[in-house]
Structures are given as structure tokens and as C-alpha cells.
Symmetry: C2
Subunit: 145 residues, 2 copies
DNA sequence: CTTTGTGCAAATTCTTTGCACCAAA
DNA sequence: TTTGGTGCAAAGAATTTGCACAAAG
């Protein structure tokens, strides 16, 4: 089956009416699992959809989040990122190039909190910051110069 | 010893020249461990320091972060928060009232990543979102109405 | 003096809102 | 024909920048 067909079904599963724009956006998220920002999604889709507006990206991401089809990622202080992988996993953000990777969580159960009966936990976020291999090497070079 | 005196020494420890503004801001952070935003710091200090500007808050927080005297907290998608507790601990943010609490980490060593030799990790952030006791109760009420 | 800190005003950037138009049921 | 989706233009909010003045050594 082609991607768009799978995307349509995925949207329906979350009670989201599959419009052209919504399919294109979700399709992009499914194929580019780099936790893009609204701006990155817009820039990627604009060439083939020149009538697309950023408002639609924001509207759509809000809808997707509310329906549980994507998760908003607050890591970067500049912009919110979006993740279609709604399963529990960690993230790594490179302070050099700004890219955000997925990381498997080793001890997932260790993250369960104890003694917080008072709190109603709905989301767990674990992320690491640092430098990816490439940026770490470039940093080293710059220091040597 | 009074707080301001301790604050001055704390700043010097991080190679930060203790100006009036910097002392006032650091002093506030030390006494109000609620991870305030720049705006909250400004509003708290403005009454007693009417010449204070938000630019100074931002300049100062940037300096403090660079010198390692505070940690920037990216949890809230609206604004960055600041934490003087630079030790490794988790945070909880209430989606109702927006408050951010500290949480002790149960299995701190469990957060160490394995198999990421390629990555240079400099920061670990763990946070939970949900509803605090008060907001959870109010939510329940609203649903019943 | 010379360096460093402060703060106003303006600029920038990300995101949201109001509103009109368009498309689908 | 009514509802919901799209997108322009403007508003809003958080943060940064340029610059001039003040303070400290």
C-alpha cells in the first residue's frame, strides 16, 4: 500500500478528517522522523503545495496533538517540535547542530515515580543534551585552532 | 550571615561580579525555589527596584547560565524557567496552574545511558506533566458540573 | 580613562487570533 | 445550506539587539 493510503487510515483512527493538507502533513511526519518544527514542515511542503499556510500547520498540529496522533516536544527553547512516535522514549538534542534524535530508554520502569500519590501524571519526558559525534569533533577542531 | 552576603559569595564562586542587580536576582532565586520565569523575577523585584529592566533580567540569566550558576529549564512551551538547584533532579509541571515542582529522582543511576559512545552528553532532563492535587480536584468538579 | 553593567526602544521570532472565503456533506 | 477547513493579515508574547549612558576600578 502507498504511504498516503496508510496515512489516511492513521488519521481516521484518531478521528481526524483526512483533508489534503492533513494527509500531506501527517505523511511528512511519518516519513521524516526527525521531530520537525512547524517551520520545517512548512518549508518542506511549501514547494509542492504553494497555497499551504503556516496557520494551517499550526492548526493541524494542534488538532493532531489534541487527538493524540502526535506528541509535542518541548526541548528546544526556540520552537516546539512534533513527534509521531507517541510511545515512551527519550530524546537527544545536539547543542551544536540542533538536531533531535530518538533514544531507546534502558530502564523504562525505573522512570515510574513513587510516593507521588497526590499528583496525576499524564506525561513523562526524558531528554539529553550535548553534542553529536560530528559536532563534538568540530568543537575539538575549533579548540585546537 | 544574611542572605545577601551569602549570595555575593555564591556569585564570586562562579566568577560573576556582584552588582546590585545581580545580587538581587540571585537572592530572589535562592529564596524562591519555584523555577521562576524572567517575567516573574522582574515582577517580584520591580516594586523594590523600579529602575530594573527586563533586559537586565535576560542579560543576567544568560550570564548565570553560562557561568553554571543556574540551569535553564525548558518544560513550558511559553517561557524558559530558571533553577538554582543545578544538581540532577526531576521536575513536575502542572498543566492546570502551571506551577513547577522539584521531584527527587528515585533511580538516578538508571538514567545513565548505555551504548551512546558517539554522543557527548552534557545535560539530563527528566520531567513529568499532569495535574497537582488541587487542580486534579478542580478538574473533577468541572466534569461533574 | 577604560572597561563593564544597565536599561530604553526597536527589532525579531514563534505562535495565536479574527475573519472571510471555500469545499464538502 | 450548514458545517468545518484553509489561509491571509494582524495581533500577541517572549526574547534579543543596538546603542547610549552610568558606574566601578
Amino acid at each position: 500500500m502507498n504511504t498516503v493510503q496508510g496515512t489516511r487510515e492513521y488519521l481516521l483512527k484518531y478521528d481526524i478528517k483526512p483533508s489534503m493538507q492533513r494527509i500531506a502533513i501527517m505523511d511528512y511526519l511519518m516519513e521524516h522522523r526527525v521531530h520537525p518544527t512547524a517551520d520545517e514542515i512548512y518549508n518542506a511542503l511549501y514547494p509542492t503545495m504553494p497555497t499551504l499556510s503556516k496557520t494551517t500547520i499550526y492548526n493541524t498540529m494542534k488538532l493532531f496533538s489534541e487527538q493524540g496522533a502526535v506528541k509535542a516536544l518541548v526541548i528546544d527553547e526556540k520552537n516546539v517540535r512534533f513527534d509521531i512516535d507517541t510511545s515512551s522514549h527519550a530524546h537527544f538534542m545536539c547543542l551544536g547542530c540542533g538536531c533531535v534524535y530518538d533514544l531507546p530508554i534502558e530502564n523504562q520502569e525505573a522512570m515510574q515515580l513513587e510516593g507521588v500519590g497526590e499528583l496525576m501524571i499524564t506525561e513523562i519526558h526524558l531528554y539529553y543534551k550535548g553534542y553529536c559525534k560530528k559536532c563534538a569533533e568540530e568543537n575539538r577542531k575549533n579548540i585546537l585552532l
